[in-house]
């Protein structure tokens, strides 16, 4: 029973893994949160789980990276660095693992080299294991991360993204692994990233075997999703064929799209004589007992559609995108079209676009294109900017074959050959002037930012500033339980909310009455540590601050038909596609908006001339905010 403690040198970690008789488990808490709870599991819950998880003796706890950095600041209002600090205090011996999207870091688009290196350096102070992937399996896209991780003395875990289909052969993946090892050296862990939970157990067993045959000294980490309910089978085959580490999660929170329960893995593999190295089963059970009651407060973030989705083998959506895709379908009112989108259009688009790996940001391109193809009726009629970039090769070369020419023509226009010649190729993102960015942030915050604040700003400029201002105003809110933080419908008078603040002090807030004055203001009375406080809310602030649409969805559509184009949802302007004075026709794209990972074109509902533009690139709009005005051509 060899437990690997945080702080162990990389060479020694890899050596221990090479000599391991049993297998190790990574508690994939972050991926569970992302796949089954829209990334909302709060630090509060992770801190509750921390003592038992620390004793459980995992290879690592995957607790940061992926979309979590963005959601931490956008929806959980917690600083991702503070989160790692607090967890480190509670879990000194457990290695922390991240999921990094190579050049796309924790976002959706390539970052400049200096931003990548700066970001990795700062996070590497807390993160011991770096699982890095590229959705095109284009190794150069991961180089900068590999180098900075190695420099920081932390463990590189490069991924080969896995998918199924005639091109996805063992030979291809073995060669890809060779390409990676050539640049990283052999003191790594190699990850088979099965983000969709694709393939049969036998298929995974074969792949692991082929890789082990070729690289017997490289420890393999199998990462999967339980979307089809069969990841346990794949894990068993992976370990039987030589994988050294596998991913699983705490049973109290396991759902349909994330990893399967740890205990099920351990119990099943025991039958075959495999021992989970360093693992304290009692502590694994205890973790779930400690956090089980918290799950009810996350109910609103669980999938709209309950049950496993064995059809993932057809549509191949990654587990991490299932929740957000279904949410988008639900909010967009096209849940009824999901069978068409998932089972017909997505596989078709997937094949047409080169059968690459459906994972961020590539999965969003496939999804958005499929949705647009079905909803708008015209296939590839409203291509997103990201789809254009994909065809231009900005993300990297297509791994197996290029899309058909008609798609290029549809997406890039009639002169697509010229466009491809002039603009094609892997995007070289110019380095940013970090001193200037720091200055800009200081201007917005009114104080000199720390390196960590600057990094958050470089990832998500608008959202980071909003978050830092939030933190200044409301404090460090991770101390609030999900029962309070996600509470809906208002509290009852007399409810007592007890919590311990960031400094560790105990507090009690009791809910008092909320009378409304003649002028319409509401005063909320709270008894804070036995002393009464009141907070006054003006009615007009309610609408804008709560982010609720002043206009209904129908009203927004009606206005658009009259030429008053407004934001149909909350999101950022990626592009204003029309100029003032330009003539536009119904169906023309006038803007692109983005919410979370999804880009949505804003289409003209009335022909005419653009007479005023109210929003610009980068603006964060609320539903009903003005974008531009079209007047009838006279």
């Amino acid at each position: 029973m060899t437990r690997i403690n945080q702080g162990t040198p990389v060479a020694q970690i890899v050596e221990t893994l090479r000599n391991a008789e049993g297998y190790y488990i990574t508690n994939t808490a972050r991926d569970l949160s992302q796949s089954d709870f829209k990334n909302r599991i709060l630090l509060h819950t992770d801190l509750m789980a921390a003592p038992a998880r620390e004793r459980a003796g995992y290879f690592s706890l995957e607790i940061t990276g992926g979309a979590s950095i963005h959601v931490d600041i956008l929806r959980k209002q917690v600083n991702p660095f503070l989160k790692l600090r607090k967890l480190r205090e509670a879990m000194p011996n457990t290695m922390f693992q991240t999921l990094c999207r190579g050049v796309n870091l924790f976002g959706y688009r390539p970052y400049p080299q200096n931003v990548i290196r700066f970001t990795v350096r700062e996070f590497a102070k807390f993160v011991d294991v770096w699982r890095t992937f590229d959705f095109m399996n284009h190794v150069p896209n991961m180089l900068a991360v590999f180098e900075e991780v190695a420099k920081a003395g932390k463990l590189n875990e490069p991924c080969i993204c896995f998918s199924t289909g005639p091109e996805h052969t063992d030979d291809f993946y073995v060669a890809k692994a060779g390409e990676i090892i050539e640049v990283t050296g052999r003191d790594i862990v190699l990850c088979i990233k099965n983000h969709g939970g694709l393939g049969t157990p036998t298929r995974i067993g074969q792949l692991v075997d082929s890789l082990k045959q070729k690289y017997p000294d490289i420890p393999l980490h199998y990462h999967g999703h339980n979307t089809d309910g069969n990841d346990l089978g794949r894990i068993i085959e992976a370990v039987k064929n030589g994988a050294t580490i596998v991913d699983a999660a705490d049973s109290a929170f396991t759902g349909f799209y994330g990893p399967p329960p740890i205990l099920s893995v351990v119990q099943s593999l025991k039958e075959f004589g495999y021992v989970a190295e360093g693992l304290d089963e009692g502590a694994v059970i205890e973790t779930s007992e400690v956090i089980r009651d918290e799950r009810q407060y996350y109910d609103q973030f669980e999938s709209q559609i309950k049950g496993f989705q064995p059809t993932v083998q057809i549509h191949k959506l990654p587990g991490g995108a299932m929740g957000s895709s279904l949410e988008q379908a639900s909010k967009g009112g096209f849940l009824d079209k999901m069978p068409d989108i998932l089972h017909k259009e997505l596989p078709r688009v997937q094949k047409e676009l080169g059968n690459y790996w459906s994972v961020t940001p590539g999965s969003q391109i496939l999804w958005t294109t499929a949705v647009s193809n079905v909803i708008d009726g015209e296939r590839y009629g409203n291509p997103s900017g990201d789809l254009k970039n994909l065809l231009l090769g900005k993300y990297g070369p297509f791994p197996f074959y290029k899309p058909d020419e008609w798609i290029y023509e549809k997406v890039l226009g009639d002169d697509w050959v010229t466009v491809l010649e002039e603009e094609g190729g892997v995007e070289e993102v110019e380095n940013m002037d970090l001193a200037l960015e720091r200055y800009d942030l200081a201007e917005q915050l009114g104080v000199e930012p720390t390196d960590e604040q600057l990094i958050l700003y470089l990832q998500h400029p608008n959202d980071a500033v909003e978050f830092l201002k939030f933190e200044e105003k409301y404090g460090r809110v991770y101390v609030l339980s999900p029962a309070v933080f996600f509470h809906k419908g208002g509290f009852d008078i007399g409810d007592k909310l007890a919590f311990r603040d960031h400094q560790g002090k105990e507090h009690m807030i009791e809910i008092g009455p909320s009378p409304v004055t003649d002028t319409g203001e509401t005063s909320v009375y709270l008894t804070v540590d036995h002393h009464q406080s009141s907070f006054t809310f003006k009615p007009e602030v309610t609408l804008s601050e709560a982010g609720e649409a002043v206009l209904s969805k129908e009203e927004i559509i009606d206005l658009a038909k009259a030429g008053d184009v407004r934001s149909p949802f909350g999101g950022n302007i990626v592009e204003i596609s029309a100029d003032e004075g330009q003539e536009v026709l119904v169906g023309d794209r006038v803007a692109i908006m983005e919410a979370m990972k999804m880009q949505t074109p804003i289409l003209c509902e009335m022909s005419g001339i653009v007479t005023a533009i109210f929003a610009k690139k980068g603006d964060a709009l609320k539903p009903g905010d003005r974008i531009l005005k079209i007047d009838q051509d006279e």
Partner: protein, 480 residues
């Protein structure tokens, strides 16, 4: 017999005086201006009388105060500190109207209030003085006198308004050129502020300690002292932190300073409570600075270590009673520290937070803790009066214990609404020179890091705001 005593002041000192008056079995009469009509001192007093709309002007109006005393039948007036406390005309007016002025006579206030007269009395009595000039002559002649003094004693020197006090009307002069330029400005400023353009010079004692001695004198020829205080931690000559006794280890020197203070009081025929202030240089020479003829803000630290109620004694002495104890009965024990918790932003040059409301006020308590406050939950920081919320005085057996208590007490406070000086004091209470009792008047300038702190170190108020919002909006708008 129950007597009525009028408290001619507002704020925490009014409450302090009312408490002593009531403890003696007398009745306290409060006065107030309209902006103070919600203030605590009115509620605590036995009766209260409106002076006018003010602001400030009615608290400074001698005629109105005398009117109020007569109207309410008060036989005595306590002026507190500030406002009319050291105005000899007020003391004189009381004397004329047969109202007992709780403090020294108008003559003593006049003599000691005039810096030059005071210096003459003290130097005649052999009290060590900082080298200085008499009032400078008017015009060119005065400038010549000043330049001669500058060349004789060397720069820097202090140019002081003869009638100034409390840190006002003082300028530091670094060279001849500044001297020539500053004298006319100092004169016009003094004329505007004190209605007297007299100025004089004093040599600057570099980075001195500010040590003062509390004096009590009865009308039967007895004068005694209640030991020393150190008020070295100042900014621009305004005291911030006061302690008792002085941290100087040489007890012989402290005894000598106290004896000198008694001599100084006797030389001026002092009566009632007063404070003799000294500067102590790095070679342990001490110089007379001035005598304050009032109860001081920092009197609480002396009360804590001696157990003697200074205000109670002031009243008794004013009524003609002899001191009820001797010098031998005064046995200071332990250490005391007082800090003035103000609604001010130390980072912004101690800018007062006038107009802001205290939405949450929680104070401290426990062993060795004393609060002299005016603030309450809901209190609005006045824009027209001072921004003092509460004075915190802690007492401990040892210095370490006392500083630890100060730190603990500061952490106990929860004040929401205005910025306060609490985090600034917390930094001082954790600073190593302060912990070792090693500080002089340069302390604030030489320890700039005490200004570095998080604005709001306690987070419960911020979190309460979010909870209020989650409650009001029926969901968390920042988590949707």
């Amino acid at each position: 017999m129950k007597k009525k005593i009028l408290v001619a002041n507002r704020g925490e000192i009014a409450i302090r005086l009312i408490r002593a008056i009531q403890e003696l079995g007398h009745a306290a009469v409060a006065v107030y201006e309209t902006p103070d009509e919600m203030s605590r001192h009115i509620r605590i007093a036995d009766e209260a009388i409106l002076l006018g709309d003010g602001p400030r002007s009615d608290y400074l109006n001698i005629e109105k105060i005398i009117w109020a005393a007569k109207k309410t039948g008060a036989i005595a007036v306590h002026p507190g500190y500030g406002f009319l406390a050291e105005n000899p005309f007020f003391a004189k007016a009381c004397e004329m109207e047969d109202i007992i002025f709780i403090g020294p006579s108008s003559e003593i206030i006049t003599n000691l209030g005039n810096k030059v007269t005071a210096r003459k009395i003290m130097s005649d009595a052999g009290i060590p003085m900082v080298p200085g000039t008499p009032n400078l002559s008017q015009g060119k002649e005065g400038v010549e006198e000043a330049l001669t003094f500058g060349s004789e004693y060397g720069y820097p020197v202090m140019l002081k308004a003869t009638c100034g006090g409390g840190g006002r009307g003082i300028r530091r002069i670094e060279n001849d050129q500044e001297m020539v330029g500053q004298i006319p400005m100092a004169r016009s400023e003094a004329l505007a502020a004190f209605n007297d353009d007299s100025v004089y010079l004093e040599k600057v004692v570099l980075n001195p300690k500010h040590v003062e001695v509390q004096i009590l004198a009865d009308s039967h020829g007895n004068t005694l002292h209640l030991g020393t205080r150190d008020c070295s931690i100042q900014r621009r000559n305004q005291k911030l932190v006061e302690i008792a006794p002085s941290m100087i280890e040489d007890q012989g020197l402290l005894d000598k300073i106290c004896e000198t203070a008694v001599q100084a009081a006797e030389a001026s025929n002092y009566f009632n409570a007063g404070t003799v202030e000294f500067l102590l240089d790095s070679d342990f020479n001490y110089y007379f600075l001035e005598i304050n003829t009032r109860v001081q803000v920092e009197h609480t630290v002396t009360e804590m270590i001696t157990g003697i109620d200074i205000v109670r004694n002031q009243i008794n002495l004013a009524f003609g009673n002899p001191l009820s104890f001797t010098q031998e009965d005064v046995k200071p024990r332990g250490h005391a520290i007082e800090v003035r918790i103000n609604a001010e932003d130390p980072k912004n040059d101690f800018m007062p937070e006038g107009g802001k409301q205290v939405s949450v006020y929680r104070s401290t308590g426990g062993f060795g803790v004393r609060l002299d406050g005016f603030v309450y939950q809901g209190y609005v920081i006045p824009e027209v009066y001072d921004s003092l919320l509460v004075k915190l005085t802690v007492h401990g057996f040892t210095w370490d214990e006392t500083v630890g208590r100060l730190r603990r007490c500061l952490q106990n406070f929860a004040i929401r609404g205005p910025k306060t000086t609490i985090p600034f004091y917390e930094n001082i209470a954790s600073e190593k020179d302060f912990l070792s009792g090693n500080f002089d008047t340069s302390y604030i300038d030489t320890h700039p890091h005490i200004f570095l702190y998080d604005e709001d170190s306690s987070e419960v108020g911020k979190l309460a705001r979010l909870i209020a919002e989650i409650h009001y909006r029926k969901e968390n708008p920042y988590a949707a």
